[in-house]
Amino acid sequence: MIEISFTQIISTILLMLLGIAVGAQVAPIMSWVERRQCAIIQRRLGPNRVGFFQFRLLGLGQPIADAIKLLFKEDFVPPYVHKAFYVLAPVVPVATGLAVTVAIPWGSHVVVNNQIINLQAVNLNSGFLLIFALSSLAVYGVTLAGWSSNNKYSLLGGLRASAQMVSYEVAMGLSIIPLVFIWGTLDLQTMITKQSEILWGFLPNWGFIHAPISFFVFIVTIFAETNRLPFDLAESEGELVAGFLTEYGAMRWSLFFLGEYSMMFVMCVLTVSLFFGGYELPWLSQHYLLEILNPQVGEVLARWILLPLGIIVLLTKVILLMWIFVQVRFTIPRFRYDQLMKLGWIYLLPIALINLIITAIVTAIVKFH
């Protein structure tokens, strides 16, 4: 039988709680970032008044005020909906969005009680496929919400959104496989460790330099997976009344957005881990820093010092990427549905396939030279 020790159980629980805490806090902060950035792009001020005790705090109290308002609004279940799925549908994006945070690599490892604790709550051999698996379950939230509302427009909006999400999953999976060829493993920790080396003397060995086409296809598919503009027909205010969200009020509506922002956060973490080196600084890898710190404070304490450094580096990169998401939202107009499906099937899928074949041939030539 596999030995599971007490420290490992406790550390897994703590890492999962860390993932859930970060995933749940992204939504309010991102809503503030989005409203301020939207305002700055449109040459006006955003919400910058709500603060605490006469300090404006740049309007950071706005998400808290929004949450309080939404909690105290009337929770109305319309009588004509299918009750069980109406109540269940907002839970699915939240559950999958928070569950998918378990595979985030926060750092390399620490040593507790003479045991090596990998700083990733779930370290399966099939690495990041866990993120794909759980994000492909997020389709059901949208579909159930659309169907249970007992309303033709919601049903159409929900089915269109789920068709969009399923179509872009194909291109998403195919665009990641060349990276598996290049790094030779499915494990996120190994990939990040390999990205900490130096390529050709001065460049960091990032996935972005090895596979730029993969990066662009992956970024486009992430936008479609999380229903963000320019692919957000499902929530398009003004076209389908409100799409699949028509019958959802107060807190249930905000649960959908909690799930969406959390999923966006995890997808950005996956992008950063695959293409931009994850928690490693570009030229000062953790291995190098460990060698500097090791003679001075010993290995165990050095690893505990590198833990917050890794988390800060990871969160900085992810925040930059999410800020780019917000910028794109207010720059590009929305796609029509047939343009969207055409992009997913007729343009992205062949590009991802050809990229896969070329990368396979080049990797085979390089490895078996």
Binding site: N125, A133, Y140, W147, L159, S162, E169
Partner: protein
């Protein structure tokens, strides 16, 4: 200990939910219950050491096949079905009982003992609990090494089968054009 308890809980829940699933009125409820059953089965695969199969089960079954089911159910807008159980004949009852007996024989130790003693392979006699010492970390590598060497023909044929199924499904589900009907 923990793995055995969780395997038992997952198995019992899977059987209970699938028994619930075949007796529901709404097709959507059955589809959602089947999704939960598939995730539980994926959990069981994970406990048996097949991590890649577990993740593939969730991606393919729960994330793709069931989405197609749910699409069809929602687009066809099927009404809830009243459960009508037809009259069961004596022949059906006898055959079901015979099926149970054969299944129990095959599935329990008596049957395994009978079958094993007729085989000449050593590995089945020394059935060990699941414990892959080093290959727990190399599951994907082992599965793909086998799939692309011994089972390569099957792999290529399966990919061709999937292509045929895609084309066939689109052709069958397309609406007949008015010009086709006139020319027939």
């Amino acid at each position: 200990m923990i793995t055995q308890i969780s395997f038992l809980i997952m198995g019992v829940m899977a059987v209970f939910l699938s028994a619930l699933m075949i007796t529901r009125k709404w097709p959507v409820t059955s589809a959602m219950l089947l999704i939960v059953v598939m995730m539980l089965i994926a959990g069981m695969y994970g406990l048996l050491g097949a991590h890649f199969s577990a993740v593939a089960q969730i991606i393919v079954y729960a994330g793709a096949i069931m989405v197609v089911f749910v699409f069809v159910i929602m687009l066809l807008n099927l009404p809830p079905e009243e459960l009508r159980y037809g009259r069961i004949t004596i022949g059906e009852l006898l055959l079901t009982a015979l099926g149970f007996i054969v299944a129990l024989f095959l599935g329990t130790k008596v049957g395994q003992g009978y079958l094993i003693s007729n085989l000449n392979s050593n590995s089945l006699i020394n059935a060990r609990p699941p414990y892959y010492p080093a290959s727990m970390n190399e599951n994907v590598k082992n599965v793909s090494a086998l799939m692309f060497t011994d089972y390569l023909w099957a792999f290529e044929l399966i990919s061709f089968l999937i292509l045929v199924a895609i084309v066939g499904a689109i052709v069958i589900a397309k609406k007949a054009k008015v010009s086709d009907a006139k020319s027939a």
